[in-house]
Amino acid sequence: MSGHEAMSDHESSFRRAVATLRRDPLAVAGAVVLAVLVVVGVLGPWLAPSGTNDVDVNHMLAHPTWAHPFGTDELGRDVLSRVIVAARVSLEVAVVSVGLALAVGVLIGLVSGYYRGWVDNALMRCMDVLFAFPVLLLAVAIVAVLGPGLTTAMVAIGVVYAPIFARVTRASVLSVREQVFVRAAVSIGTSDARIMRRHVLPNIAAPLIVQTSLSLAFAILSEAALSFLGLGVQPPAPSWGRMLYDGRGFVTDAWWLGVFPGAAIFVTVLAFNLVGDALRDVLDPRQLTLSEARRSTR
């Protein structure tokens, strides 16, 4: 960045994001992994060396070899191909369900924290009820009502995580709404909707981003768990959790059935967490480095 030419918000924060990410090798690693995952998710079926349901009857439960780098399962299907294709399922579930949870939870939390009173009480007690159920049990119950499948799994995970976002949002809103700048906005007659959008939301972005990255990771785990219980993706479509489930009977004989899908889950979850951490730093203007701050105030 040279001097202080007038930059648009978008440009400057984008540059700052890149600059901050560059200084943080772990975040770079996380971002690279996520980028690779997205590519794999989109191009999965074309990248996979063989079809997900192609059966190699001569090599059932085969050790990893050059022909099948991740080995084959009990039906002789190529584990590598299935792990690759399953990436799309995991990402889709994570993004859609967390998106749903974020939209619903933030709206509820914002309204609760901003208006307080009986609105707050009513909404938060509903959230408490949702919270009272163990996460997986609630998801299982929702799936039981709506019938198993990918869409149901997404909705279930979304519903399960919405109260967390509602609580995080409400807690942050409660502290932000008492700030003088919110009072100042009220005093000049700014509307509630505008205050929430412009003054409250940007100030609670940091905890939400962290929560989002964690939830993305948890959503992937939840999808795996639901599929592991046979309530998510239905066979023969592959999903990491489903593969773990199918492979559990062979753990002692065929370690590769568990290790590779498990490693895929592990790496994805880790990558989301690393990037989420870095994003929090980037999106908070107060985290500007001293040198940048000096340059722009000169």
Binding site: M7, S12, I188, G189
Partner: protein, 330 residues
């Protein structure tokens, strides 16, 4: 806007909070007005009701407060308005400057956007117009190279500069009234002087009415036309500023003036007012200052509320007696 009447006029304004230990009277029957181009200083200790009277007058009190009395903004009743309309009128005609410039700006929004917020909301400006308006306002309050700075964030400014930004924000829609709630308290002395000077010059140029809430009598002397001294939720004395400083007539005002540091007599101990202000839950039946009063010039002071009496030239004071009558030089 309209004619020559007062910009803001409070008539017998009372603010009561219902608490678990009974009603707490924060403001008890306060009346004052401020005209175009005039500066009224509200002086008093913390809890004397000076900020609360202004917040109540503009409809910014917490929901638990009960507000009674009359408030007229530009000749029209403000308290009778519906909330959306009140919000509209408040935003259009009144600008607020709060005490702490560190917290009265949104830390994650560029200052240009904050300064032009009121214009966007009330004057229906487009983004581009609002941006130009922000530059104009920042220029007006003396922020150097305003056009380059509108994308900067509040943390990139010093305290004094931030308070200038807050003032620019308050001036957004050319308000008829500027309410400054202890705007210099959080600043160091040189910066204080600059801000006082800035507001005075802006007022001269724009003809805005100013209500300046403070406990700093030095600032009052520098900026005010008239002063209202508040104690225990009531006005105890109101006068033109030179009159008040020359002839303080209420024992509380006298004590306040005596407690100012005076460079001519440096080194000595400052006279303090012993005791503490009364609780709004339990105001004395008579004069609220009676328990701490060094004069107690009349037997009725303890049990009966003294009326506001005019002692000449718009100078009113809440005592039963004239200082001269009880043998004290004013």
């Amino acid at each position: 806007m309209s004619g020559t009447g007062p910009v803001l006029r409070l008539d017998d304004l009372t603010v009561t909070f219902g608490t678990r230990r009974g009603p707490a009277q924060a403001v008890a029957g306060v009346s004052w007005e401020v005209g175009r181009g005039e500066t009224l200083a509200l002086v008093g200790e913390s809890g004397s009701g000076k900020s609360m009277s202004v917040l109540a007058a503009t409809g910014l009190t917490p929901r638990s407060a009960r507000v009674a009395g009359q408030v007229q903004l530009l000749g029209e009743d403000l308290l009778a308005d519906t909330e959306p309309r009140r919000r509209q009128r408040r935003g259009r005609h009144i600008g607020f400057v709060f005490q702490d410039p560190m917290t009265s700006l949104n830390p994650v929004l560029p200052i240009g956007r904050q300064v032009s917020e009121a214009c966007e909301e009330h004057l229906g400006m487009t983004r581009r117009q609002a941006r130009d308006r922000a530059v104009e306002l920042l220029d007006l309050v003396g922020i150097p190279s305003a056009r380059e700075r509108i994308e900067a964030y509040p943390h990139q400014f010093s305290g004094g500069m931030r308070q200038r930004v807050v003032i620019a924000m308050a001036l957004g829609c050319d308000p008829d009234l500027l309410i400054a709630d202890e705007p210099t308290t959080a600043l160091d002395v040189t910066t204080q002087a600059q801000i006082v000077e800035l507001v005075a010059s802006l007022q001269e140029r724009l003809g805005t009415a100013v209500v300046w809430i403070t406990h700093d009598l030095g600032v009052v002397a520098g900026i005010a036309d008239r002063v209202a001294v508040m104690y225990g939720g009531r006005i105890v004395e109101q006068a033109r500023v030179d009159d008040l400083f020359a002839h303080p007539s209420h024992p509380y005002t006298e004590a306040l003036l005596a407690a100012r540091p005076d460079p001519a007599h440096a080194g000595g101990e400052l006279p303090a007012i012993s005791g503490s202000p009364p609780s709004p839950l339990d105001l004395p039946p008579g004069c609220a200052f009676w328990p701490r009063c060094p004069v107690r010039g009349d037997a009725r002071c303890e049990h009966e509320l003294p009326p506001l009496r005019e002692v000449g030239g718009g100078h009113v004071v809440r005592t039963f007696y004239r200082s001269e009558d009880i043998g004290r030089s004013a």
